[in-house]
Symmetry: D2
Subunit: 374 residues, 4 copies
């Protein structure tokens, strides 16, 4: 019988977007191995909007470090490790990197039930006219299923967080399509980010059976908010033309002491959703998670957005009318506060722009924790 | 034996800083009487910083309405009603007005134990050189004690929230002092806001015996953060030259079904402090306050600030290094999220700039709720 | 033969949005008469975007003052005086009010050629489905022609600045239309501001023969930037449902020493356009306008916008990619700097959002100056 | 007789902070040689304040490119090339890099009078307690003189722009000093940036005889604004502990067709100062610089700041009261507009934070232009 795999998750603080010191030290001390890293999901301190250069800066600094440690080119680093940076640490959120590693166990370990499993997947490159449309949904669904299969996650109910980095349209790409007589979903590059995120999330929903493929015509993307995935977390970047996928779930065939659970926040202040996820990890508490339980928590991953109707439980919010601070910034601060109050920690991954990721105004929240070794 | 007094607290949504519709309707419907209003504490949607004109705009709109309803001048409105507007509804906070009324009970009611009591007080006008210094502390302490006595709050432990509006220095006032050979605490008008807030909070601390008067030299204001009040909430405004004080506590001699409790958040994510206050009101819950209990809550009042050391429980926050969004805005969003997650409501009064109001990085939180009529 | 009319223009500094001190003093000193004021055009220091409450605050403060001075209600003030507040004093722009008055000359004066003439006009109220469409264009054109006729401006070439305040769509208005089965030009209330400004500007263009009515289908509004007026300056506000129009031009039948000229800036740095306008007023200079000439200038009125293509003369600008500062704020700062450098004064009216007001990336600039009494 | 030196200045657009494409192409095409680059001065599109990471991002991207082209380490790139990035392209300013190269002429050329000369200098490393004080002034003065001597700039009147990158205090550095019993000029790291910039500028003033060394006690730094240099442009960065100096002037011994001139803007709208500099370069014009002259201009370098008294020529500005947009951002936008209106170009280097760099509210402006080859 094959050796099990083992997932490792390290959460490391940063002192700035380019700060790779904690990662370098962890590598130096042998806490993790560079060649076992499959993904790094980071929170950087930019505005998380169009002119947030902290994402690219963090990515460049990580590539410089990892190219050195892996003795390869920076381009090769990008090929082997999914680097997903999300900007915005409003409120009290603390900038950090979460490093995902995967290795073969060194010896056959006793069966421990399902443990954290990490699957990686990629779609083919998209043509510009496919972005934000059914083609992107379909290909994403296929790639998510493949990543689940590769990780041995057999049951859709065992997939708890699917992080996707997806492409966007640029003026060049729109022009290239037009030259071929093809029409893109939008002419607006900013809007293309939302459409690409939305289509990618719907791809996850299709893969996991949350919605039927037949339900999602092109027109639903970015408009029919009743269609959503409860586990998708997607972000668009200019630097790629395909979707890159990290599936986090629980599966047999994996060992170690980590498990992941999730739930769906119905709105931005739905504390109870996070408490249900905690409860499934055996970390239930009245009030704030106590110290001992908190120390078992390895990562908290959530999506946030301003309720489109301008109301949270009948109370007006001002996020969508604020021309000084973008609504995604308000939303991250709010959800960050809700979760930090519960968890007692501000080093949380809360990402904005939750199109088709959870219901309108809400979003998925996933928690990875040490549940005891086999 | 004298008739009891009765406090009334109405929380009203606003659709903008100048929206007095809900208050006008409440007056029209007889839900409250204009001549019983003693104070209005509002959250407006400006930035809460220097160029926040929503505070003044709300104040002007309220004065226009109340002058009409009270058939007096706008100047007279200001004399009889404390209008305290606090800017900043970051995250999900919902702009609103909390209206405080006071009336004689119409008949002698059975004793119900201590009930919400409202005391109003004023200091004399301060000379510019007194602001932010021992004189302001001393006079504030005396006025707080007087307001407590007037409200029948005998025990310092029964004072749960002391809202103060205090003056600041302007170039004119600094110049006037200098012309007399007097030196002000600062030449910087912005800094004078912090010093005035701080000295006013220390005045509360002295009045309530939280610190001894002997402890507070001029130099402690704005520097020795170990000295603080756990119930003070102060804000500085250009439009006055004295301190205006609203003391909220519980006292015999008051009837109705309202009580107030408070606790001190040790840091911005100290959910447990708010839970303790809820618990004393009989509203304890394991997670988010359930609907029925939530409907008993009439007001939530809290102060927020960025931890000066740049850390929350050892995690770096970026509030103090952010040149796009002022730290007070981040802090309100964060504390607003923490409390909204607990209470299940975003219509909260969270105010920034908590010098000597709770410990560094923390602040008082007070809750008023209906606990059952006598 | 009829007595001439006389226009008076007073530019008054403000110390804040609600500061009406300079206006009150001018009234007290008899520099102008309240009953001769026909319009006040102000620059306030808000962000000029959705949540700019300084416009409303200034308007309310002016209504309070003028109601007192005119011994009428605040509603009556609004009926008789066009109050147009434009937010945003980025860069060095200095907040101020420009007060326009109109009176009969007290005696027949010798003919002085054409002098500054002020015409006021109003459209009927628009139904929601008319906003941003041909109906708004057509009615605006008619009202502009009527205002010109009323002011005696016979020749389109003599109309140099047409300031319009126009309505926008709200969720309520959209819903009301839908209930009648009518479709509005947009569902997006923010976008409706741009469409209303654009249609109003096209109305000016039609009135002045800059474009033919036949050219402007609904679809052109907000999309065909080749259609524009070189003298329109429009701003949308929630508080009205019709268009209010101030036409500034030169006409016989008016006396005094004021004249107005304008030109069209082809882009944001088109200094030469402003120099041409100065030249026509006899204020040409090499370099910055010298002190003596500067003192003859009574008002400078301009529109600004970020070049939609992201370039100014082939150089990339970042205004449209900045998620911290709205592009209209950058554009006002830039055009404000260009004009302040030329004029040697920062008390300029530079307004953002120049849809169909001048060419894409450019806008009208008008100057009123004292050219010598008859 | 020795061969002359030749300065080369290339202004290259960037599409983002990390965009080195234009530089790479210029190197590929042989327009410049990597080993002749002595300094790169860039404008990046961040906020120019504390959390502006575009400076570091641009620096890292340049180091990656230049290490490759020079076949050396990134650390070695930093040793040989002064990389000075200044954040903030508000208004219409266009992000770009200005690359300064220096080479020996290939053959002896006829004498052409003084031509653009580039001198590079460094101070020793400063101890934390020296920053912002007389020691930094004195050492900077010596290093500026040395850089002038090295470049053959004999006459102080021939030094037209001195760009300095200087260190700042961090908590670590302050602590290290304190451990030795030494006291730093400030405990506030942000304030240390201003003090270091100020002391560095005063060092330039001393070197050029603009002020006497005897005039400048520690206490003058950051307080006595009557002391300033008309050619200094300084910026503080965390990545160095010494001052790095680029002196730009005119000198014999240099050939080519470039010259530099400068003047001092008395306030932010002092167009005439820039016109005087243009005039000395033979580029005088009545209004905007015409196309042919504009094409001779190679770089425009200026400093900007908000007038500390809150007024520009008696008109109130709001820069210092704006809690949404930092005053340095307003000031760059304003001065950028003034100069873009004159030059007809937005690719200008306008840098904020002008302590002791020009008079209060003003600053130096220098222009490099092609004046014709020998």
């Amino acid at each position: 019988m094959a050796l099990q795999q083992q997932a490792q998750v390290l959460r490391l603080p940063t002192a700035g977007p380019n700060d790779t010191t904690a990662l370098a030290q962890a590598l130096d001390r042998g806490l993790l191995r560079a060649d076992e890293i499959v993904g790094i999901v980071g929170k950087t301190e930019g505005n998380g909007c169009v002119n947030d250069f902290t994402r690219g800066y963090a990515t460049l600094a990580l590539k410089v470090l990892l190219a050195e440690r892996l003795a390869c080119t920076m381009a090769a680093v990008e090929q082997r490790i999914a680097l997903v940076m999300s900007g915005g640490t409003e409120g009290g959120l603390s900038p950090h990197l979460t490093v995902f590693c995967r290795r073969k166990a060194e010896e056959r370990l006793p069966d421990a039930g399902k443990r954290l499993a990490i699957g990686i997947g990629f779609t083919r490159r998209f043509r510009p006219e496919e972005i934000g449309r059914a083609a992107q949904i379909r290909e994403t669904a296929a790639a998510v299923r493949a990543a689940m299969a590769e990780a041995g996650i057999d049951d859709a109910a065992d997939a708890h967080f699917v992080q996707i980095k997806c492409p966007l349209l640029t003026q060049e790409r729109i022009g290239e399509a037009r030259a071929r007589g093809a029409d893109t979903a939008t002419q607006d590059t900013y809007e293309s980010m939302a459409l690409s995120r939305g289509a990618s999330a719907l791809g996850v929903a299709v893969a996991l059976g949350e919605i039927c493929a037949a339900q999602v015509a092109d027109a639903a993307v970015g408009s029919d908010w009743s269609l959503f995935s409860g586990v998708a977390s997607t972000s668009a970047g200019v630097e790629l033309q395909r979707n890159e996928i990290i599936v986090l779930g629980n599966a047999t065939g994996w060992t170690g002491d980590l498990r992941i659970e999730h739930d769906v926040m119905a709105d931005a202040i739905d504390l109870e959703a996070a408490r249900r996820a905690l409860s499934r990890l055996g970390l239930a508490a009245a009030g704030q998670v106590p110290t001992e339980a908190r120390e078992r928590i390895v990562a908290v991953l959530a999506k946030a957005e301003a309720a489109p109707a301008g109301m949270i439980r009948g109370r007006r919010h001002i996020m969508l009318d604020d021309s000084d601070i973008h609504s995604t910034r308000h939303a991250r601060a709010l959800v960050g506060g809700v979760l930090a109050g519960l968890i007692g920690d501000t080093m949380l991954y809360v990402s904005g722009g939750a199109e088709h990721q959870g219901p309108a105004g809400g979003g998925p929240v996933a928690i990875i924790a040490r549940v005891g070794s086999p």
